[in-house]
Symmetry: C2
Subunit: 500 residues, 2 copies
């Protein structure tokens, strides 16, 4: 084992990966429980898939090559087949549904929370392992299934403490976007690149997107990104349709869904696909309206979504309140999740399309949002630590162990101090652990058949100064002795005292 200083191993994590401590785990768990509750109320049931899949099942080979996409973590099986860590939760669901197609109830409603992995350059807030929480309905082609997804996303926002008015679920359609591109005579092979470029409008603004769609764009660092090579007219018809956040007046979004849909019908002109998309958006709008969600779910041509596999409605959950960015300027918080219809994904395994729609919540993004709005889910009181039984006489460890054991049997969180330090350091340890009480029994107490109970919460309060005569009168003893036989009873009583 190498232990000399130069050769010593450095304890560190690869960039883009992180540990989570007790407080973050508990707060995230509270948030996930709220989301789960909403999903279950809509009749969705849990399904879990493993972290590893065949690379081909994830659709993650590089185009025309037998090598996995660099964006996924991949390794070879013992029989030389490529495996990858899942990149999202949708591709594994599609594999599961195709594998068990005949046995599943259809439509099949399921949900899952889990970590996904991206082999990409990490950055501030960009991780290589992060959690998504998805819900999907497979086997329902009706726009009612998409409408339900949007309403469920709205319910999730409110369940975790985002107030109505602080969020909006925006809906658009890939068919409509295809229709607009068809009307602008943009050839099919360029369309994915076009959508990816427009999807960057949030970050790059109108000017950046215009360059990406045209001749290309040089970023601040001097790196050049090749453009899609559209004509001025083509670019204009696109950006006039989708708009960009830095030029809010320029977009086909009208006041209310009816006006927006009229603009959309106009923009897709004679495209059959575009008209079909507009009609589906109309149906979603009516359903949302009938269920009283019109104030939270709206048709919005700016939604694009970067993924290739969407085939119909696409949606995004956006938080509309402002938070300071790195430079301290207030900016809209933005997207915390999204999804859409992907009728071809299960079909890759079956040779025929299987209708499917779903969405994904970005758990860490939503968690940051809850911190920003100070939701009680994340600011909630941390549970107190264990009662700590101090070790004053090393020969009597078995006695102290028994005290801790008795407390635990009575359902009290308790531990005996297990280190080698003296009394003062033991008190410091108890404090660091958030212990409400410590139990002390030295030789004197033992001789009297007593234990001392020290109340650390009250002790801290008294140490910080008692403000008034009333406080003085109300003060409870910060340390008191009880007969050893009454230890459990006295501890339970002390823990039950209301905090002051």
């Amino acid at each position: 084992m190498k232990t000399d200083k130069q050769n010593r191993l450095k304890p560190r994590l690869p960039r883009g990966f992180a540990d989570r401590d007790a407080a973050e785990i508990a707060a995230t768990e509270r948030m996930l429980a709220k989301i789960r509750e909403v999903y279950e109320r809509y009749g969705f049931e849990p399904l879990e898939t493993p972290f590893v899949e065949y690379t081909d099942a994830l659709g993650k080979f590089l185009p025309d090559q037998d090598r996995p996409n660099e964006g996924v973590f991949s390794f070879k099986d013992e029989d030389e087949q490529w495996l990858s860590l899942r990149y999202d939760l949708t591709a594994p669901l599609a594999r599961h549904v195709a594998e068990h197609f005949d046995a599943l109830p259809k439509p099949f409603r399921s949900y899952r929370a889990g970590f996904v992995f991206r082999n990409e350059k990490p950055g501030p807030g960009r991780f290589r392992q992060f959690m998504q929480f998805d819900a999907d309905t497979v086997g329902a082609s009706s726009p009612a299934a998409d409408a339900e997804m949007c309403m469920m996303m709205a319910d999730v926002m409110e369940a975790v403490g985002i107030k109505r008015g602080d969020y909006v679920i925006k809906v658009n359609s890939r068919k409509v976007l295809d229709g607009v591109m068809e009307a602008a005579e943009i050839p099919p092979e360029k369309r994915v690149a076009v959508l990816r470029s427009i999807d960057k409008a949030d970050r790059l603004g109108l000017d950046g997107v215009t360059r990406l769609l045209g001749e290309g764009r040089k970023d601040e660092s001097g790196d050049y990104t090749k453009g899609v090579g559209l004509t001025r007219v083509q670019i204009n018809s696109l950006v006039n349709f989708t708009g960009a956040p830095d030029v809010p007046h320029m977009s086909s979004r009208g006041i209310g869904d009816a006006a927006t849909i009229a603009n959309i019908e106009d923009a897709v002109r004679s495209s059959i696909l575009g008209k079909e998309g507009a009609c589906e958006l109309q149906q979603i709008s009516s359903l949302v309206d009938a269920a009283n969600y019109a104030d939270r779910v709206r048709i919005d041509p700016s939604v694009v979504r970067g993924l290739e596999y969407y085939t119909g409605p696409v949606f995004e959950a956006e938080l509309t309140f402002k938070v300071p960015n790195e430079k301290g300027q207030p900016v809209v918080f933005g997207s915390v999740g999204g999804g859409g219809r992907y009728d071809g994904l299960v079909g890759r395994f079956r040779g025929e399309d299987v209708p499917a729609t779903g969405f994904s919540i970005g758990v860490s993004r939503l968690f940051s949002a809850l911190k920003a709005v100070k939701s009680p889910i994340v600011t909630g009181a941390h549970e107190h630590g264990p009662v700590v039984v101090l070790v004053l006489d090393r020969e009597r460890v078995a006695d102290y162990q028994r005290m801790a054991s008795l407390l635990r049997e009575a359902g009290v969180k308790a531990e005996m101090y297990l280190g080698n330090a003296g009394m003062k350091a033991q008190m410091k340890y108890a404090d660091k652990r958030g212990a409400p009480l410590v139990i002390i029994q030295g030789g004197d107490e033992k001789a009297k058949g007593e234990v001392q109970i020290k109340d650390l919460v009250e002790g801290a309060r008294q140490a910080s100064g008692i403000a008034s005569h009333e406080d003085y009168k109300a003060a409870r003893p910060a340390q008191f002795a009880v007969p050893e036989a009454k230890l459990v009873e006295a501890v339970k009583e002390a823990l039950a005292r209301p905090p002051r």
Copy 2:
């Protein structure tokens, strides 16, 4: 996209990986909650590390090579460093503690449940992704910390429903085993191979272990495993000490810890390390006795544990009841978890040993055990499915959607049927989903301002035949009409009726 039959993608998982359905997820979650409760009662707090670590931090390079061990899934970082999926939860904990050493309270008590990955040949019950649930105390060198681990394992067994007497926590010591090997003059470089061979006694029996320790062993398939090359005398002194399950009379285990420890002291002869180990086992035995766990935790020289990094006490939780094996013969269920002291693991990062002890529960193994004893945790009633609102008139989807929405607002799990099938198939769907009720509103009901509520549970009961006149009188209507305005109220009432 390749969709012709020959080129169609096969939906399948790599071997050794599995999906988990709703019932298994819920049952496992109930089991984990019980374990978590015990850990927290002992003052342990959650800590989570990511799935990916630097291969060197996991200690998983092949000896004297810059290539990761074949047993771990590994891939290269963009800057050509080796990363691996975690192999267990102990090495990542050691990295975390070393990284944050000064900030952590010491002793540091933490727990974590999570999947780990082994790049090994999968087999029946042997997975390449499986869950462990660990608890560890870092910074405590006292045998009291080891004793606490053993008592906590016992409490875990009972918390999940394994009855007292159906399990035993067995304790041994690496120092003792080292002492016995020292006394038998087995050179240090052979000792890891010796321990690995003895650890296979459960599977191979006395004869198999004897061969592995000697000249080698040929298995049923004809594959040959090289032996350690010990002498007859060396082999005898080892197997007489540890024993083997197929020759229960041959072992240094006595009746009661005192007798066993006397045998151990005898076996380690003059080895200093061996005597130290025996003394620690003596302390653990006393502490366990004082806390009234002597009937559940016992010193047992047969425990070895295969991992290299243990430095002191080692322990194993064994279930003693019998279950049928693949051939239908009754065999002892065996180990569901174990652990031990690993004072060198954090030290790899720090240049000095840091005392640490912990154990790991094999979640799937324990889950199988709970199935075998029919623990209510796994057999527990499955929650009922959603109330399903049928779609009789496609033009009125918005109305049906609203009914589902109203039910959900009242906290009732509900969904509108989203497929394209007719009434009969919709009823079948509701049945498959475990729906307690379906809501029906065709044209006639609409005209009367009514909805029909059909009780599927009662319906099934009546269909299966009513046995007696009393039953007939007690029968509740399996289908009834209510005014549409009373839908929510009537559904809540119907759901509240006690099951018959």
